[in-house]
Symmetry: C2
Subunit: 117 residues, 2 copies
DNA sequence: TTGACGCATGCCTATATCGGCATATGATGC
DNA sequence: GCATCATATGCCGATATAGGCATGCGTCAA
């Protein structure tokens, strides 16, 4: 009896964590410094539980760290996890330039063909 | 009557497209050249429909292009869409270095504190 | 100890996929 | 047209979230 294999467990990986727009906003905001959840939620127009949940995901993949500060809990950026992604995409740098060239060549070909009609 | 708002529509955005490990494998493989779906599926150990579906997502966000070649359909890389991601993560470069420094300083502090015990 | 405050969690609903499978669609050659 | 090969799609089952809301839990101050 073969059970249908469902979606792969992509949770807890950095690519997945930054696939969410709001989580990216959080990371960007945290570049300007540590913040408690409530302030963060307010600045980004999300509910406190919503912000907490996103922060949890970010913390689980190591993109943010938290430390207690009195009654509050301050969240801060730990961007090291973004480096692998930067490098992975960087592995295509040669190709996106190449793509431009090819597209350009293609466009030139079209123009050429037109004039010869 | 307030309907619960579900998951945001993140479909059709590049961040989401590359969040899937198999799709990343496809992109990496395509760096070595165009390929028909079947060959691609075979090389990556996935089913043909599976490969087709992933390619569809990649095509919808513009990361691959296809062109007909006789009976086959060749898929090729169009890496330009990866550039924004490279740049977005690059915006954190300063911070991941800084993080390293801080971590290092933290470790030094610990060592210092130990010796002074 | 008891509020009050700040934040994390649990529960629920709606949805978005992923994978497997069968099958429709398309193009080719006879 | 028809058989055949190459791909794309549809359907289904199982899961993974995202958001809203209410509530639990921990910390601090009086």
């Amino acid at each position: 009896m073969m059970l249908p294999m469902a979606r792969a467990a992509t949770t807890s990986d950095v690519f997945n964590a930054i696939a969410e727009p709001q989580r990216r906003e959080i990371l960007v905001l945290l570049r300007t410094g540590e913040r408690p959840v409530t302030e963060l939620a307010q600045e980004l127009g999300m509910t406190q539980p919503g912000a907490s949940k996103h922060l949890r995901v970010l913390r689980e993949v190591g993109l943010v760290r938290d430390r207690r500060a009195g009654k509050q809990r301050l969240y801060g950026l730990d961007a090291r996890g973004l480096r692998p992604i930067h490098e992975w995409t960087g592995g295509f740098e040669r190709f996106w330039n190449e793509s431009f060239d090819r597209l350009d060549a293609y466009v030139q070909d079209l123009k050429q063909a037109r004039q010869e009609e």
